[in-house]
């Protein structure tokens, strides 16, 4: 068996290498399809917002994973999409969010500034569950969440759509009032084309 030694594989009409082979054994695919890539988990223990930036333009699905995410206030946690060198889109979301409330039935709310993670907020909430963000077409995106508050066994679900002004480049996790601070948990994302 012979070994083909090269550093780059490039289509004749492509402007740059489709595949780059590094000396350390890693392989970089410029615009992969059917491959799921992971971001880097970040501790959601400080800050008023957490931004995942640098999402490649070929991405068609992003999954944001919440692991017992908590804040120090009562504002609803929301997820927003962003464009450019990261400017979050803060309006134009069409959706609703649901939470079951222990002893008092349930609550449904709709906000236009993002997809709401649980329909209300509490410093005691420990939010879990994935937010799946799917490309509809062009810069239009569909977002859904199914999870809850693991601290008190509340269940929640939410859905929203939004049309961005440009290509998606990032995701922001923040609160509706913008001033509550994250104080526990971790967040990571997966992205795929």
């Amino acid at each position: 068996m012979s070994t083909l030694k090269t550093s780059n594989l490039q289509h004749a009409s492509a402007a740059s290498a489709n595949i780059t082979l590094a000396s350390d054994g890693t392989t970089t695919i410029a615009a992969p399809s059917n491959i799921i890539k992971s971001g880097t988990a970040v501790a959601s223990t400080s800050g008023t917002s957490i931004d995942f930036t640098g999402i490649p333009s070929w991405v068609k699905r992003v999954t944001v994973m919440l692991d017992r995410v908590s804040t120090n206030g009562t504002s609803v946690v929301q997820v927003q999409l962003g464009t450019g060198s990261f400017t979050p889109t803060t309006s134009g979301y069409n959706g609703l969010s649901y939470i079951s409330l222990t002893g008092t039935g349930s609550l449904v709310t709709n906000i236009t500034t993002g997809i709401a993670i649980l329909a209300d907020g509490s410093a005691a909430y420990s939010r879990v569950g994935p937010i799946v963000i799917n490309n509809i077409t062009g810069n239009s995106w569909s977002m859904s969440w199914c999870g809850g508050d693991s601290a008190s066994a509340r269940v929640g679900t939410a859905a929203a759509t939004v049309s961005l002004a440009a290509t998606l480049t990032g995701v922001r996790i923040t609160t509706v009032n913008g001033t509550d601070t994250f104080d526990a948990g971790s967040i990571n994302i997966l992205y795929e084309g």
């Binding site: 970040v42 800050g47 008023t48 995942f52 039935g105 209300d120 009032n177």
Partner: protein, 61 residues
Amino acid sequence: MERIEVNVITGEQTIIPLTEEEIAEIQSRPQPEPPAELTAEEKLERSGLTVAELKSLLGLD
């Protein structure tokens, strides 16, 4: 106030203080009114029971 930025390609995490413009925008947001405390009747209704049904259940007709 500050935000945390994570680049998904490089994995680099950066803590960035909010700009004066960002803080001003946050402070200009309308603050939602606190949810009203539910009455006993409203709590009952949300659980799917009416007062009459509860009375009947407890033998208080």
